[in-house]
Symmetry: C2
Subunit: 481 residues, 2 copies
């Protein structure tokens, strides 16, 4: 927070709250990124959208302007999709118009490997500094800030949430919003920053560390230009909020791809890993795992004190596989003491049941059975959390109607909430279907649990891996506890 | 094949081809396993189904008989879902009727942990030996033999295929048929054998090793009663056909569950692993991975000579993640020689493209681009196979119509088939959607590729893990070349 904080520079908070947005390089005849952004902003109800292209008078039903300076209203943010060759002239117009930020979807700069394109990037930065505006990218999808109704994709949710995500990749920024959507994950700001010419990962981490709208920080980073600065920003952010991070380009092939993608000289993986361990950032192995860890952090009713799970559900083979999967991934299924087994036998039918951990009885496909099991198991000290599964049959294959909202879901959710009030979180493992009918039922059941505030995972192993990472992160350092 | 082959015993081949099936313990008022089996057999068009229950005259539109002996026609196979207490009397009837096999869905025998129930199992076996019929189970879902129109689940495919699957768990037997269905996996026989009182894993492995309808063997096994016998059967089967195997109960929790589930004393995991290595059985980590390995074995146009992959697709961030994922899981993405990069630049547009491995150009979302890339890369000696991905956006989110069958899928498949004829397999990584509209599009695209005979995987890491296992299995032993 020293030399890099220039007083006169436009703040990220201003960037994230534009009053008017110009979209430069729109076409009335094709549907590419610029047109999709105009469409997305319209759907989001953003009030002041200005398509720019001298060739058209109207684009997607909006007046189209010949240049940024020709726009009558205030323009704070400019989205650009024109060839790299034409960007310097555009930046002069942006300076004249007094914009706060310019986002380049346009690629073909530093990452192309051509020297003249790297030089062009430097000239762009000079113009931005002189013009008093910020650059996002180039080579990225820019901003998704639901609170400001700013978005770059037509089906991004418009309700904000507590997660801030920075992503060097535009694809991952858009995918994260989509993957997280049905799991209940919502975002304060998602920023795709590409080649990081001006706004970069360190400034964004500093911002999210302070941002009152952001409670959890997630980051997909391919390369870091200033290692010391980044280490400071990551340490600061991770000391205030959970930070979940994936470092792209861990392998030789990934490194080559990152170099071609965002001109990132990916730093030593060992150094990066050591830094994350030291500052207690939660590293993940891919984007799906990031969604899982965010789900655990966001929706567990509290962080479990240890890694002891009571696994309850119906199905013998699936229970074996689930037990194997959970212990492989770092959770533990403590055996139930004899007294607990006897207590379970009093409230659950004995035939077809297995009163161990995993607990497997046909009655765990009924709300009464679930309530009875949770009540008996709640006080067992070795158990830190409950995981409920549906046998990993695709839900529709049961075909017996017991998953109806009234008869099963509503009372089940009540029983689970009651168990959580005793202090131990309940997590769900629901397997997505592989056919359309099954998927319909799956999505409806998932939605019911998510809306009730429960963390839902799509496999037992994914659940276990994510929760084990969160527990390890939450563990007090050796010697203090 | 010595002492355990008794001349007079009913062979498994006879068991798998029954002329008439009785279903004992059906109800006209509920829908449990027995009723679902009657329904499934009807849907499958099995010609001679005999529901049995003295309480009813008709069940699901079929005449219902008071006992097995009251059935007028030939009964070869009996499906049983009556309480354990009543089974001995039933077995006397079965002997009198001259049936070949009796399958017990009924649970609550040896696996219950009660001594008298274990003794009951022994009496059942004595009756079966004396009566000259075989027992499947108890505590399982029994037979799914599409060629005989015998099935236990209403949506099992009725076209047979080259995979034989034995599963100690009924849930896994049914799940496997479902998970494999959309990937094109079809089965010669799926046998769920539960407590393995009579028909067991070793006899089934011997059968599949010889069965001309079975080319690939898959097995889910919780416990093995006769280790030496099993080792011999596994060695024999694996020397003739690829055998893919999951050992349930690898962890403490899994072991407890397996003990409760099928009374299996799971043997030492280390011993089991050593045996699999020695006889070259392909071990997997869960059922999803089994489906992936079976998909690779069944649909790769040939087994790759090495683990070098050319990864082609569109999307920068996804390419980085894909490169990382593949190398983490044991495949290799060799860099393209300069000459190859130059050749690619001649046939693919330079802006927005990255001519390395992973190859990432927007044109790889067009059939012409794919054809051009495959042609240039085909002869590169470091490349053993091609993997094509669609950027791991859920397909529908592109929203630009380029995935239409005529304009994209048909010519793309032609280009991929041409590449395969040059000797290197093409594999696909398609990500299932998480919303209903996207899932519709995903299923249709997946179906087109599967029907064209391609192996489709649902994530890059899953693809890489499965293919790496198959390559390791196919590798000649050290020292032989």
């Amino acid at each position: 927070m020293k030399d890099h904080a220039e007083k006169q520079r436009v703040s990220l908070d201003e960037v994230f709250h534009p009053r008017g947005v110009a979209v430069v390089g729109v076409s009335a005849s094709k549907l590419g990124f610029a047109e999709l952004v105009v469409d997305a902003l319209k759907r989001a109800g953003f009030p002041a959208i200005y398509p720019v292209n001298p060739k058209y008078e109207e684009v997607l039903g909006l007046p189209c302007y010949p240049s940024v300076t020709a726009i009558p209203g205030v323009v704070d943010h400019v989205v650009v999709n024109i060839p790299a060759e034409s960007v310097l002239k555009l930046l002069d117009e942006c300076a004249e118009k007094g914009v706060r930020s310019v986002h380049f979807f346009t690629a073909g700069f530093g990452e192309s490997g051509y020297r003249d394109r790297a030089d062009l990037e430097k000239e762009m930065l000079v113009k931005a500094r002189a013009g008093g505006f910020r650059i996002i990218g180039p080579n990225c999808v820019g901003l998704y800030v639901p609170g400001s109704r700013v978005t770059n994709h037509f089906d991004d949710p418009l309700d904000p949430g507590p997660i801030g995500f920075i992503s060097q990749s535009g694809g991952h920024a858009q995918n994260m919003a989509y993957y997280g959507r049905a799991r209940g994950l919502r975002f304060s700001k998602v920023v795709s920053y590409g080649n990081a010419l001006d706004v970069n990962e360190s400034e964004l981490l500093d911002y999210f560390a302070e941002d009152p709208e952001t409670e959890i920080v997630a980051a997909y980073i391919e390369g870091v230009r200033d290692g010391a600065r980044f280490a400071e920003a990551l340490r600061n952010a991770a000391s205030r909020k959970p930070v979940v991070i994936y470092k792209g380009g861990r392998t030789e092939a990934g490194r080559r791809a990152a170099q071609g993608h965002t001109a990132s000289m990916t730093s030593s993986v060992a150094l990066f890993d050591a830094l994350c361990r030291q500052v207690k950032a939660i590293q993940v192995d891919d984007l799906d795992e990031m969604v899982d860890v965010l789900t655990a952090l966001r929706f567990m009713s509290r962080l479990p004190r240890g890694n002891g799970v009571a696994l309850i559900g119906a199905g013998g083979g699936p229970s074996v596989l689930a037990g194997d999967g959970m212990e492989k991934e770092g959770l533990r299924l403590p055996g139930f003491p004899t007294g607990v087994q006897e207590a379970l036998k009093k409230v659950l039918p004995v035939p077809g049941s297995i009163f161990i951990n995993p607990l497997d009885t046909p009655n765990l496909a009924t709300a009464d059975g679930i309530a009875a099991a949770l009540k008996v198991l709640g006080p067992v000290p070795e158990i830190d959390m409950f995981v409920y599964h549906l046998g990993f049959h695709p839900i529709s294959r049961w075909g017996m109607g017991w998953l109806s909202a009234e008869a099963f879901l509503k009372p089940t959710i009540e029983a689970m909430k009651a168990a959580q009030q005793e202090g131990k979180p309940v997590l769900l493992a629901l397997r997505p279907a592989l056919d359309l009918e099954g998927m319909k039922e799956f999505l409806s059941v998932q939605e019911t649990f998510v809306e009730a505030g429960f963390p839902v995972f799509h496999s037992m192993r994914k659940l276990a891996r994510a929760v084990a990472r969160v527990i390890a992160w939450n563990r007090p350092p050796a010697g203090t506890g």
